[in-house]
Homo-oligomer: 332 residues x 2
DNA sequence: ATGAAAGCGCTAACAT
DNA sequence: ATGTTAGCGCTTTCAT
C-alpha cells in the first residue's frame, strides 16, 4: 500500500480511503482516485485482509460449523450460505465436527482465537453455557440450527422434527395399519436423537402400542450403521413390520440390509427416513421420508447473521421454524 | 495480552515468549512462566491469531479448494487433511467451486488477500499461469490433486485415470464381450473429462471398435445428468450393451434410468463407474467401478504441503501417483 | 480534499 | 532472564 501511495504520489491514508470507499461521507477528488486506481492496477496491489481485520474489527468472514460433511442435507445449507456470503463479499470458513463434542469445542476455541464477524452452527453437544461464553468472549452474532429452547438467547432456525416424527409414526400405524414398529435412532445425547425418539415414543404410546426394547436400535447416522441396525431388527423372532429411521443415510442402509436378508420393502417391512436427501429418490424402492428444507434453513441462518452484522436487527432474538413434511414414496 | 502482563507483573513481551515457547533458544525462569500461566488462566486469555498472523507471517491455516462438496470422494480427502492439520494445530479453510472457473479464480483471489500457509487444490480450469501467479504473488506452497503435466512446477498428487479408463474399457470388450460401448462423460474442458474420454477412445480404437457419435453423452457429475444421459443412450435405435460412466454419481443415475426404462443391469446394459464412493455398494445391482483412494490422496497432499511449510522439503518438486483399481461388482 | 500519526494485538530484534 | 522498541499492513481520528 505504501508502494501504491508512492507511485500515485499521495499519502498512504489516501490510498486507504480510495480503496475502502464504503465509508461514504468523505470526498476524494476524481483526479486522486484515478491516480490511485492506476497505481493499484500497475502494481497488481491487493489489500491484505488480515491487516484490515486486525485494525478494523471487521474480518469479512463468517464461520459455519456443520455436524457431518457426508450428509447431503448440509451441502445445500453450506452452498446456500456461501452464495449469500459471496454476494456480500464475505468468505466462509467451514468446519465439520462429525458429531464429536471435542470438535465442537475446538471450533469455538478456533473462533475465539481467530475472530470472524458471524457464526452459524449446528451444535449437537455444546451446552448453552458454552455458547453463551463464546458470545460473551467474542461478542459475535451466533445463529444455530437447533431447537431454540437449548440456546435461549441465540437466534435459531429449526425444523419441528419431534412433531414430524410423531405424525409420521401415527400415520404408519393408523393409515398403514402397522402395529409392530421399530426405531433406528441415534444417541439420545444428540438433540435430534432425543427429539425424534421422544416423538416416536409418544406416538406409540398414544396409539396404545407397546414397543419391545429390541425394537429400538441405535446407529450413528451412517449407511453402515443403518445396515447393522436393520439386520438386528430383522433377525428378531418377531421382527417389526415397519421401521422409523432417524435419517435417510441410515434408512438407505436399512433397506439394503433388508434386501440382503431377502426381505421385501415395503411388503415385509416398511421403512421411513428423515431428511429427504437426493439419494432418497434414487434407491429402489424410493424412500418415503420426512423432508427438511436445507435451502430455506441456510437462507434464514445467513440472513439472521448478516442482519445482525450489519446492525439491521437489534437485540431481540429471532427464531424461525422451517416445517418438515412427510413425502410418501415407495418404501412404505 | 497487556492485561496478562500487568497481572503477572512482567512485560508484555515476556508473556509473548512464554506463550510461544516454540522458539526454543530463549530461557525463561520457571517462576515467571508460572506467574504468566496463572494470569492467563485467571483472565481466560487467548492469543489473537489474526494479530499473530499479521506479525509473524505465519497464519497456522491452510486452505483446500475442492471441486464438488457433494462428491463423497472429496469428503474423505477433506477429512483426512483436516485430521492431519489438526495434529499440527492448523485450521483448514475449505472452499467449494462446484467445478466453476469463476469460483476457482475467486479462491485464488481470496488467498492472495487473506494469506494462508499452504494451499491444496483440485483445479479444473485454472491454467498453469494462474497457479504460477498465485505462487509468485503469495509465495505459498501449493499442492494440486491433478495430473502433474498441467502444473509443471507444483507438487502434484494424481490418479492415473487415463490408463484406468483404458484398461476398464478393454476389459469390457475382451473379458465381457461387449462390442457396443457407450460413454457418459463430462466436458473435455475439465482435465478428468478429457483424460477419461481419451482413455475410452484409445481403448475402442485399439479394440478395433467404432463408436457412433450418439454413444458419447455428456453430463455434469450429478445423479440427474447421469439419468438423462442414460435415457438418451437407451432410446437409440441400437443402444449400447455397456456404458462407461465417468463418475459414480452419474453411474448411479444411469442405473436408475435404465431400471425406469425396464432395462436390466447388467443383462441388457452393463454399467461401470468411477470413484468407488460408499453408495456404490448400496445400490442394486452393486456398482462395478474404478476405485480411487481419497484417504491416500489427502494424506499425500497434506504431507506435501506441511513438508514445505516446515521446510522439510526443499525446492524439488514432488509428484505422487495413487493408482486406481477396477472393482468388479454386479453392474457388469 | 489530503496528510500525519496513532494503534489494532502480537513477535522479534535489540538492549540490559 | 527480562524489558524496551519497532514494526506487520491496514483504518481512522485529528489536523490542516
Amino acid at each position: 500500500m505504501r508502494d501504491v501511495a508512492r507511485l500515485a504520489g499521495v499519502s498512504q491514508s489516501t490510498v486507504s480511503r480510495v480503496l475502502s470507499r464504503s465509508t461514504s461521507p468523505i470526498q476524494i477528488s476524481q483526479d486522486t482516485v484515478q491516480k490511485v486506481l492506476d497505481a493499484v492496477d500497475k502494481l497488481g496491489y491487493r489489500p491484505n485482509l488480515t491487516a484490515r481485520s486486525l485494525r478494523g474489527q471487521k474480518t469479512n468472514m463468517i464461520a459455519i460449523m456443520i455436524a457431518d460433511i457426508s450428509n447431503p442435507m448440509y451441502h445445500s445449507i453450506v452452498r446456500t450460505v456461501q452464495a449469500i456470503a459471496r454476494e456480500r463479499d464475505y468468505d466462509v470458513l467451514i468446519a465439520n465436527t462429525d458429531h464429536v463434542y471435542e470438535n465442537e469445542l475446538h471450533f469455538c476455541e478456533a473462533i475465539i482465537r481467530r475472530p470472524v464477524d458471524g457464526v452459524l452452527m449446528v451444535p449437537n453437544h455444546l451446552s448453552n453455557d458454552e455458547i453463551e461464553q463464546l458470545i460473551h468472549i467474542t461478542d459475535i452474532p451466533v445463529v444455530v440450527l437447533a431447537w431454540p429452547s437449548y440456546y435461549p438467547r441465540v437466534d435459531a432456525v429449526y425444523g419441528d422434527d419431534l412433531k414430524a416424527t410423531y405424525d409420521a409414526v401415527r400415520w404408519l400405524v393408523e393409515s398403514k395399519g402397522h402395529r409392530r414398529v421399530g426405531f433406528i435412532g441415534v444417541s439420545r445425547t444428540l438433540p435430534p436423537g432425543e427429539r425424534r425418539r421422544t416423538g416416536f415414543d409418544r406416538a406409540m404410546t398414544d396409539a396404545g402400542l407397546a414397543v419391545p426394547p429390541d425394537y429400538i436400535q441405535e446407529g450413528d447416522f451412517s449407511i453402515d450403521s443403518g445396515q447393522r441396525a436393520m439386520r438386528a431388527l430383522l433377525q428378531l423372532a418377531q421382527p417389526p413390520t415397519a421401521v422409523f429411521v432417524c435419517n435417510d443415510l441410515m434408512a438407505i442402509g436399512a433397506i439394503d440390509a433388508a434386501k440382503d436378508l431377502n426381505c421385501r420393502v415395503p411388503e415385509d417391512v416398511a421403512v421411513i427416513g428423515f431428511d429427504n436427501i437426493p439419494e432418497a429418490t434414487i434407491i429402489r424402492p424410493r424412500l418415503t421420508t420426512i423432508a427438511q428444507y436445507p435451502v430455506e434453513m441456510g437462507q434464514q441462518m445467513a440472513h439472521a447473521v448478516f442482519d445482525r452484522i450489519e446492525g439491521l436487527s437489534n437485540g431481540t432474538r429471532q427464531v424461525f421454524e422451517i416445517p418438515c413434511r412427510l413425502i410418501e414414496r415407495e418404501s412404505t
